[in-house]
Symmetry: C2
């Protein structure tokens, strides 16, 4: 695919994707966060996580979505923080969140009980049953430490438009700290959208058939191009490539590197993504695999991905300085 | 729109919508639940809640979704239980759930603290901060009562196929208790789908453009028709109509009643759905409205909807007996 003209993308963003009202305020927040931690000698990673929502109607009832629980982004955020990074977590509203992943699989009320088991009414103590949530004390402690040291800045998006504009704002905010910034673009971003101008205002009437939905879907501009060349040219940029067909995966990863000239692609296949990824750079190709032993010990693949990328980032910074 | 032939729908269901492996087991569970409570003199309501997921690829990365947090279904379930009903809660995986709605808007870790505020490590007591969750004790108590008396049977779906087959199973299971069964069909069901036979196996390549997505979307069969006429002919059936355009709402509600001959349509407009609905029957039309006073007192519109429908259901049962 031909590389899109950058200026045209900036134009498209302004015209065809509604600008979130709070984007400038968020941008300042991210810039302040980045400088604060960079001055403290920390590297800063921007993680995108979760799927984008693409409205099919301007008063939206129906939308196109991408499969993503946000698990990879949320667990990676924890490992980046453990590796000394400050994290801007640009995530889909209600996708998985660092340190709270455990709550997703259970009904919280099943993990709570009254102190002493009596039925006290409103004044009673409500405690967590640590048989149900064995790690809760450890996780809560870690969460409070991270909160206290302000190492995690959460930013939410829901729609594709919000994602695109907030990512641009983040890139511009992080450009101030140069090569100390990493972009870890793990979100599942839609390739298709309907420009606001062509979007039906009201709920598409099924009696009309799906015609309206079909007519006006366009390709989403490849945001990686301006991010790498314009918005944050000194940053260390990682994109993700998820395919269901392993045979085309590495080829697509290499083509992405050739097209956008960023630093690495984390390539993975839908069915095996929890246990196997390939980190592809222009020169190298590193397979990261979880053994059965690892799985038994509850090692997560994100720990390996993050450790691979943080050392690559260190080398990258040294080269820039040299 | 012409009324679809019933037999054709049963055929379509079998052919074009993958049958969930657990459907028979769930059906027996629902039948046992219904008889148990009917024998105890309780009415039983089946609530559908949340949006349906429509895969665009058979190893799904992308899907079409319907806007729905599941709030209406989850809060209605609580009011039905308060009104003496047993509830089968057929809901979208991870949509809002009865009694746990409060957890959605907060990060649970922000509501937890160590007993006495010390940093105890793994053995410490973790308690809920009741300044953050003021109603937690009351809600937990109610939740445990409901669990103990087995008044709530949760069943999950994610895809449109699961929804359709599980709803059919529910209808057949509830037919055994005749007019004591209510169907409260609040789920946001897609009108469009791609038959398994025509679905691309792998992730649609954006380099091909959105063509494949567009070619093969079909209309979802109108499940209300066989539900009312075949599967549960004696039941009290409520459908929901959500529009963004108020001007066509009542007309569409009346047309639905004419087409399917069920008992009522709860009609609502997207922007005002939390404070205003119209319950439309063949003979009547009841506007339910929350006043500012109601909103201040945290009255929910679902309380009004449920109280309107439960008395209508009682009249319905009496008429059947007479």
């Amino acid at each position: 695919m031909a590389e899109p003209r950058i200026s045209s993308i900036d134009g498209k963003l302004a015209e065809e994707f509604a600008v979130p009202s709070h984007v400038e305020e968020v941008k300042e927040k991210m810039a302040a966060f980045a400088s604060f931690h960079a001055e403290a000698g920390r590297k800063v990673v921007l993680i995108t996580s979760g799927g984008t929502k693409v409205p099919l109607e301007s008063r939206t009832v129906r939308f196109l979505d991408n499969f993503s629980s946000g698990r990879r982004g949320a667990s990676s955020a924890e490992y980046f923080i453990d590796s000394g990074y400050a994290v801007i977590f640009l995530h889909r509203h209600r996708s998985l969140y660092p340190y709270t992943r455990m709550f997703l699989t259970i009904n919280m009320l099943d993990a709570l009980e009254f102190q002493g088991g009596g039925a006290p009414g409103n004044t009673g103590e409500v405690v967590v049953n640590q048989q149900v949530l064995p790690n809760i004390a450890k996780v809560l402690k870690r969460y409070e430490e991270v909160k206290k040291s302000r190492l995690l800045l959460p930013i939410e998006f829901s729609t594709l438009s919000e994602y695109l504009h907030l990512l641009k704002a983040a890139a511009q905010a992080l450009s101030k700290i140069g090569s100390k910034a990493m972009f870890y673009l793990a979100a599942a971003v839609s390739d298709f959208y309907i420009p606001a101008s062509e979007m039906p205002e009201h709920k598409i009437q099924s009696s009309n058939g799906p015609l309206q939905v079909r007519l006006s879907m366009k390709m989403v501009p490849k945001i990686l191009s301006p991010l790498v060349k314009e918005w944050a040219p000194q940053a260390f940029v990682i994109s993700f490539k998820l395919e269901t067909d392993a045979s085309i995966l590495l080829d697509k990863a290499r083509r992405a590197l050739d097209t956008y000239r960023h630093q690495a692609v984390v390539a993975n296949v839908l069915d095996s993504r929890r246990g196997y990824v390939v980190v592809v750079t222009l020169e190298t190709q590193a397979e990261l695999i979880l053994t059965e032993e690892d799985v038994k010990n509850e090692v997560e693949i994100e720990e390996r991905i993050v450790s691979n990328l943080t050392s690559a980032h260190d080398n990258f910074i040294t080269q820039q300085v040299a």
